[in-house]
Symmetry: C2
Subunit: 187 residues, 2 copies
């Protein structure tokens, strides 16, 4: 999807930014939190970790705890951190908003790890504006098809319009919260 990394791989990198985890720990997070749009099956996670290790984005340390089976703990490397941050700073495109808004949300969720608070603001403004543009586009499409499309098709379009409007509203809200948050944190 980006740099040859899939969004799952970035999700793993993002999780490792908060602290080291075992493969099983990562699986459990995908399984039990709303973050887990991703499959938590071993066939997904372990090969992904292997690839990330081959690329030098994560490192594995064997944690030997008194004799028995050694747990394998993963941590993000400097290169991994740089790769993640580069991804977080990518511009918000129309296609991303249209086709993969959940990936944009994943990026936003990890933006705490950026030093620059302005980056968040820019992201949200772009997300809001692109979403607003998308609302207009779907609305125009609906208007054009109104006479020929069956009622269920129109209602499905309405769902898209309402959902995208909710995103615009959310972005405005998030901007307000962040501005307050940052101004109160400064002095």
């Amino acid at each position: 999807m980006n740099d040859g990394l899939t969004s799952l791989w970035y999700a793993i990198l993002g999780l490792l930014m908060a602290g080291n985890l075992t493969g099983y720990g990562i699986r459990k997070i995908f399984e039990t939190t709303p973050l887990g749009t991703y499959s938590s099956s071993p066939g997904t996670i372990y090969p992904a970790l292997k690839k990330l290790r081959e690329k030098g984005l994560v490192a594995r340390t064997e944690m030997e705890s008194e004799g028995s089976a050694a747990k394998k703990v993963f941590c993000i490397t400097g290169k991994g951190e740089k790769t993640l941050k580069r991804w977080l700073l990518k511009p918000v495109t129309r296609d991303q908003v249209r086709l993969h808004p959940e990936i944009l949300m994943l990026r936003f969720a990890f933006m705490d790890y950026l030093n620059d608070p302005q980056a968040k603001i820019r992201f949200l403004e772009a997300f809001r504006d692109e979403s607003a543009r998308l609302v207009k586009e779907i609305t125009a499409f609906r208007e054009a098809e109104k006479e020929v499309m069956p009622i269920n098709g129109l209602l499905a379009l309405d769902s898209g319009i309402l959902g995208t409007k909710a995103k615009v509203k959310w972005a405005s809200y998030a901007l307000k919260v962040l501005r307050k948050f940052h101004s109160s944190a400064k002095p």
Copy 2:
């Protein structure tokens, strides 16, 4: 995903319910309408049509138009229609609402082809209820994590909550519209 058919394949079947199409025509629809969450690349569409034909769900007729290159027109078969309708009538599950709401919306968009108007109503009620349940779940999660999660994570959760609330609202609206539509169509 279902019956060994992917949602893309069902999308193609649904499109063919409205009328016959060429492979290129299908590609253009995915490319230019909001329906197209799917890739419209030839490498996606043509192999999918091949598979559908092998399974006997669509048929191909060569339309010879005066000598030159024959266009290949696809139509849905009886078996394809039955397969599609079986898919449309599947119950709305929690996991579908959580992980693949856009597929549920695709199903809804095609439900015009069901004879039974009650099926639509049942679908919407279930969709609304499962979405409302999901709102509660994410809200509870957010409440539990409120103190430990960074602000961006919380805001990302808010986006999920608002988006899901929008779905609840939409379903209620759609139910109203459909009830009015059906009662006015009867007498």
